[in-house]
């Protein structure tokens, strides 16, 4: 095989690889839709090559460059290897030893210097992107959100619209489209990692060590993610849903979340007894409900029914799954920190009826 054929062949293979990669990773970036009504509520697109936020896009640009360079190196090295295997395999007629070559200074120098130049280029590109993606100051006009990782769920604290109060919610982060979101990451227990691939790369959530990261959703939609650092038994079910909505919708949501839960009417007797049970049993020790209890160990339930999932994404939230969850969380999420309270069916009905009023 002549050098020229080899060269053309290499280019062809590189082109094919890149084309295939492009197809696999890029096509359909806007065809995948999350439909909260289906059973596959956690299904969706987490492809790092489908960015929907400036930092993720920066990373993709760099990634294509790096993939391209690596693909070229790969094809050349493997090509030469295959060529050597075919060309220099021992043939039947061969006798005697080949010429012994102990080395060659120019060749050795070449294969030291050329990789050095390549990694130098890569290093420069890397340094530039680090600067653009890793911000040390919050971007202008950003919304500040405190993210607190717990075993195995996420707590979010963001300011109310007037900036005086705090909205506390869990597992589902509602954000306005087009505004930078500045996250402060805290951990209540072990190390977790915040990763919503289409928004930005991951940043670890470390106890005793506050980290920051940011993103800015370009379009409305649900962007899925999940904890990316092993954090114990239910690491796999510590899912993140970032729900980007237009600003008006976001503000309406903020207003609704800032209100205390609506008062129970006289006719809601089951809910009334459910509320009493909530206070009598262990529930209130872990869960906060505005004006009712202050537990901090589990998610805040004030506006529980405004969320779409339960158990940090372990199941869709509807009356049936809620009942199953309260009955025995260990069925839906083995090993989670909420115990089974061994309620009788009446108690279960009451508590579920109460929780369903928390809209």
């Amino acid at each position: 095989m002549s050098t020229r054929t080899l060269f053309c062949f290499s280019i062809l293979v590189i082109a094919c690889i890149l084309e295939c990669a492009q197809c696999t990773f890029d096509v359909g970036s806007d065809t995948v839709v999350c439909a909260p009504e289906t059973a596959a509520i956690n299904a969706g697109d987490l492809n790092i090559f489908h960015p929907a936020s400036p930092p993720a896009r920066e990373i993709r640009e760099l990634a294509w460059l790096v993939l391209g360079i690596c693909a070229v190196i790969f094809v050349i090295v493997e090509g030469v290897l295959v060529w050597a295997i075919i060309r220099y395999r021992k043939r039947m007629a061969d006798a005697g030893e080949p010429v012994q070559v102990f080395g060659s200074n120019p060749i050795e120098l070449a294969w030291t210097v050329i990789p050095t130049i390549i990694v130098f280029v890569l290093a420069l590109a890397t340094l530039r992107t680090i600067r653009e993606v890793q911000l040390t100051e919050p971007p202008e006009g950003s919304l500040h959100v405190d993210v607190i990782g717990h075993q195995w769920w996420w707590e979010f604290r963001l300011p109310t619209l007037n900036g005086e109060g705090t909205i506390i919610t869990a597992n589902e982060l509602i954000v306005p489209v087009g505004r930078p979101i500045w996250l402060s990451l805290h951990s209540a227990d072990v190390i977790h990692s915040w990763w919503v691939p289409r928004m930005n790369g991951k940043t670890d959530v470390i106890p005793n060590h506050i980290n920051h990261t940011w993103f800015q959703a370009d379009m409305p939609g649900i962007f899925l993610g999940q904890c990316a650092e092993y954090c114990g038994t239910q690491h796999a079910n510590m899912l993140i849903r970032v729900h980007a909505v237009p600003t008006a919708e976001f503000e309406a949501w903020c207003v609704a979340q800032s209100l205390p839960p609506s008062l129970l009417t006289e006719s809601e007797t089951t809910a009334h007894s459910g509320r009493d049970l909530f206070l009598e049993l262990a529930c209130m020790n872990c869960h906060a409900i505005d004006g009712v209890s202050n537990g901090a160990f589990g998610p805040n339930l004030t506006h529980l029914m405004s969320r779409t999932t339960i158990g940090a994404g372990a199941a869709i939230l509807n009356p049936q799954t809620l009942r199953a969850w309260v009955d025995d969380p260990q069925n839906l999420k083995v090993g989670c920190n909420m115990p089974s309270l061994k309620l009788d069916p009446n108690q279960l009905d009451s508590i579920v009826a109460y929780l369903l009023t928390l809209k």
């Binding site: 790096v66 790969f74 080949p98 070559v101 290093a123 990692s193 940043t203 038994t233 090993g335």
Partner: protein, 560 residues
């Protein structure tokens, strides 16, 4: 003459009772027996770790799999990682060093034979302690349980608060004890290589495997104690109420990461440099050419050793280090690609112009070059910090390091085993079975680990016991799981090959591959005393000089 007559040697073994034979192995201080025991134990644990991996792949073959429960899955990946690194890679590689180094430098035994035996039994005891946890340890829910904190055991998940019971203590103590064993073996290797070389064997005339082992020994001596120290701190935390990694009392979770990876990254090179060494022996012999650029290979190895202690934080790009520190560790990581690349080019330079015989050792070695190149390139992608923020802790990383440690180290180990098995046992492994083994392993390996890169890009984090359906992950995970079957068949073929060849393999003769280093100058298996006369060498390839007196290597030494 030193050629052992098989017909008289075998009945001698048979005459003794089983107990007496076991006793002879247990009390032995002979580096050859110790080396074989290391490799034997390592291969047993390779099968155990493989079964653990197969169970995980069975669980992940479909979305939301229900074959094992989450706690069991977490134990499986913890034990799989720990086993493969500490109970497979380290003992097999150090064990092969143990077997080969004295033979290659023309010595009677290691520098400290009794320390050598001590090291082996420390390793066995540590391994037993770790695996005893399956029976004896108290886990998260008070049931008997293996450790479930992951092989890098990040604080504070390992603290008493989050890991009650004592399964984590089994992990700490098992690794600590076997670590002491590794340190003693490393001291022995360094001392043997520096002190026990036969007349004429200067450092630059050593077989390259000896160079690799010398550097590995030094890295073990520098790296393992850091892990031991960190584990001692963790023990103090867990038993005496110290606060090293106690984040609830001001301790730092990052201190553990820094200490662990200061050990952990050199450890990667500890696991791969000996395999490089095997290739440095196998590729020249099967290409019938001298290594292309001996001294650059030595220099590259030394460079890798130096740089490898300054790259550790590239495992921590997502912990929130400053942009400056991230940039520094990215730069050092890029830098280490250069000497690693030199090695790949050197092997190919050796093959080019040769007359390559593709017997099983060479097949494995060639696969090593191809697969390791791929693993190295994905490593470069991971060194690109922003790319790492996306890829780190995803299945892409799992794919990457399996290409390096399986495609690299394990293929290197099999290359070495097929190459030196005849020397150690006096019998050749079957070539036919060997080729079947190789192709099954190669296909199975790629089928399992290549799709992992894609799962990672599609957003699948590692260490999850289940993944959500309809994220596009099913097909790639299914392929990964199917690959395990091929690998299982390959391992079964290998075991069958070994058993068959030990019983009635073809007698090997002293030098079945027509190789050039000193171990092939003595009989197969070598006598207890290794060499009848202390050999004297005039170059790095004494047997070449002997076969080609008209053109000995010593004439070309200025090139070296």
């Amino acid at each position: 003459m030193t050629t052992v007559d098989q017909t008289t040697a075998v009945p001698d073994e048979v005459r003794r009772t089983f107990g007496a034979r076991v006793h002879a192995w247990v009390v032995s201080v002979d580096h050859k027996r110790l080396g074989m025991m290391y490799v034997g134990f390592g291969l047993c644990f390779f099968i155990v770790g493989g079964i653990e991996a197969a169970l995980m792949r069975a669980q992940l073959a479909q979305a939301a799999g229900k074959i094992v429960d989450p706690a069991t899955f977490n134990q499986l990946f913890t034990m799989h990682g720990t086993t493969m690194v500490f109970l497979v890679g380290m003992p097999i590689l150090l064990g092969m060093g143990n077997y080969l180094i004295p033979l290659m430098v023309g010595a009677r035994d290691m520098a400290f034979p009794r320390l050598n035996a001590f090291g082996l039994w420390l390793f066995v005891f540590g391994a037993g302690l770790l695996y005893y946890s399956y029976i004896g340890a108290q886990g998260l829910y008070g049931t008997s349980a293996a450790p479930d904190v992951g092989w890098f055991a990040y604080a504070p998940l390992t603290s008493k608060t989050f890991s009650p019971g004592n399964s984590t203590d089994y992990w700490i103590l098992g690794i600590m004890v076997s670590g002491f064993g590794s340190i003693t073996t490393a001291i022995n290797l360094v001392a043997t290589i520096l002190v026990m070389r036969c007349p004429g064997m200067t450092l630059m005339r050593m077989p390259l495997l000896c160079w690799m082992m010398l550097i590995v020994g030094m890295l073990v001596i520098l790296a393992i104690p850091v892990l031991t120290g960190a584990q001692a701190m963790l023990l103090l935390d867990r038993f005496l109420g110290a606060h090293f990694f106690d984040t609830q009392n001001g301790g730092s979770a990052l201190l553990w990461q820094h200490l662990f990876w200061f050990f952990g990254h050199p450890e990667v090179y500890i696991l791969v440099l000996p395999a490089f060494g095997f290739l440095n022996e196998v590729i020249p012999v099967f290409s019938r050419k001298v290594i292309f650029g001996y001294s650059l290979m030595v220099a590259a190895t030394v460079a890798i050793a130096f740089i490898s202690v300054s790259v550790w934080a590239h495992h921590m790009f997502s912990v929130g280090m400053s942009p400056e520190i991230n940039s520094f560790f990215a730069a050092t990581t890029f830098l280490i690609a250069i000497p690693t690349g030199i090695k790949i080019f050197t092997w190919m330079g050796t093959m080019i112009g040769g007359k390559i015989r593709f017997e099983t050792p060479m097949l494995c070695a060639t696969a090593f070059i191809g697969l390791f190149t791929f693993g190295g390139l994905t490593g470069i992608m991971l060194a690109v910090v922003p790319f790492d923020w996306q890829l780190g802790d995803s299945y892409f990383v799992v794919g990457h390091f399996h290409y390096v440690l399986f495609g690299g180290t394990v293929f290197g180990i099999f290359s070495g085993i097929f190459y030196w098995f005849p020397k150690a046992t006096g019998r050749l492994l079957s070539e036919t079975l060997g080729k079947w083994f190789f192709w099954f392993l190669l296909v199975g390996f790629n089928l399992t680990f290549f799709p992992m890169h894609i799962s990672g890009i599609l957003g699948m984090p590692r260490r999850i016991y289940m993944y959500q359906p309809d994220r596009g992950l099913e097909i790639w995970n299914l392929l990964s799981s199917i690959g395990v079957i091929f690998q299982g068949v390959a391992v079964a073929l290998f075991v069958w090959n070994v058993i068959r060849s030990l019983r009635n393999g073809k007698p090997a003769g002293n030098n079945p591959w027509n190789a050039w280093t000193l171990e092939w100058a003595t009989s197969s298996p070598p006598p207890d005393w290794n060499f009848d006369q202390v050999p004297t060498v005039g170059s790095a390839r004494p047997l070449w000089d002997q076969q080609n007196p008209q053109d000995p290597d010593s004439r070309h030494e200025e090139h070296l």
